[in-house]
Amino acid sequence: MFMPPHDPKAEHQLLARMKSGDESAFAALYRRHKDGVHRFALLYCGSPAVAADVTQDTFMHFITQPNQYDPLRGSIGSWLCGVARNLARKHFSIREDATDPAELLDDSQLAACHVDHDGPLERVLRGEAAEEVRRAVASIAPHYRDVLILCEVSDLSYAEAALVCGIDIGTVRSRLSRARALLAQRLAPAFRSAKEAV
């Protein structure tokens, strides 16, 4: 949904032109991916200001290090999401030192640094219900949140999400399942209210 239709041949041609200094090729790639990257950053960080910084830094990285993108390892869009994810995690100083699915099975077992205590509290979306869902997503531990955003909102494949997060596909599946369960748990009161209203 967030990512533009994947057209590797055209994108790689643009990338080659961009690497040789063609500004119009960079502009085309930027316009193609800017919103997807920004939406991912916004959902991941929960703050429009931080998301704007992360988006800018992501494309700065793209300008200065375009050779880091490996066409054999997914689309440019998913690679940019990976860069944005790393920059966002750096911004919040989140360490990826607990990657064992068993250890991550329950939020209660997460180290304090794995949960955003600052909590993205500022309002981001206009719609009340959508904002409530966004806050519920933001309240999930980052390990689950990034998989949930990448697979369910940004529409990346499990394989692409695995590359972005540096984990295997099985871990993506288990984290996504857990993330959905946590989201259902966070939204349960809202679901109940809606059911009673009906």
Partner: protein
């Protein structure tokens, strides 16, 4: 009802709402400027050589134009006479020939007094080793035509 349905609906709602979110418009100009800086043609290794050569040339030409020119040597004995008037020139060659010389030059010089004897002038043996200052009138070919001793 499918237990996953409420979560699917919530995520669909979020996806729909996020479609209206766009990256800040100002970013594009910032990034385009950064891109241009990144791909600006690199300076050659010795980029400073041409401006340095130009500055050096200007300095040298300026010095040549503004520096005081050395005064031209006098072409006849009469021009130096006003400055140094220690007596008449003694002709070392016939006067007719001296008068016909087109480009004679007066040169101040110093030489051993004994050299005067070569031109038939009197020299005291006691002072033969002393230097003597004189003005020489030379022809354009470098031949000594006349001499005037300076005290």
């Amino acid at each position: 009802m499918n237990p996953e349905e409420p979560v699917d609906n919530a995520l669909a709602l979020l996806r729909g709402e996020m479609q209206s979110v766009q990256a800040p418009a100002a970013l594009e100009n910032v990034l385009a400027a950064r891109f241009r800086r990144q791909h600006r043609a690199p300076r050659p290794l010795l980029w400073w050589m041409p401006p340095l050569a130009l500055a050096a040339t200007v300095a040298v030409v300026s010095w040549m134009v503004r520096a005081p020119m050395p005064s031209a040597p006098a072409t006849t004995p009469s021009t130096t006479r006003a400055v140094v008037d220690d007596g008449p020139f003694l002709a070392l060659k016939p006067l007719e020939r001296i008068a016909l010389e087109p480009g004679s030059t007066v040169v101040a010089t110093e030489f051993p007094r004994a050299l005067l004897a070569d031109w038939g002038l009197p020299v005291s043996p006691d002072r033969a080793g002393e230097p003597v200052r004189a003005e020489m009138l030379y022809s354009a070919g470098g031949e000594a035509l006349a001499i005037r001793l300076i005290n």
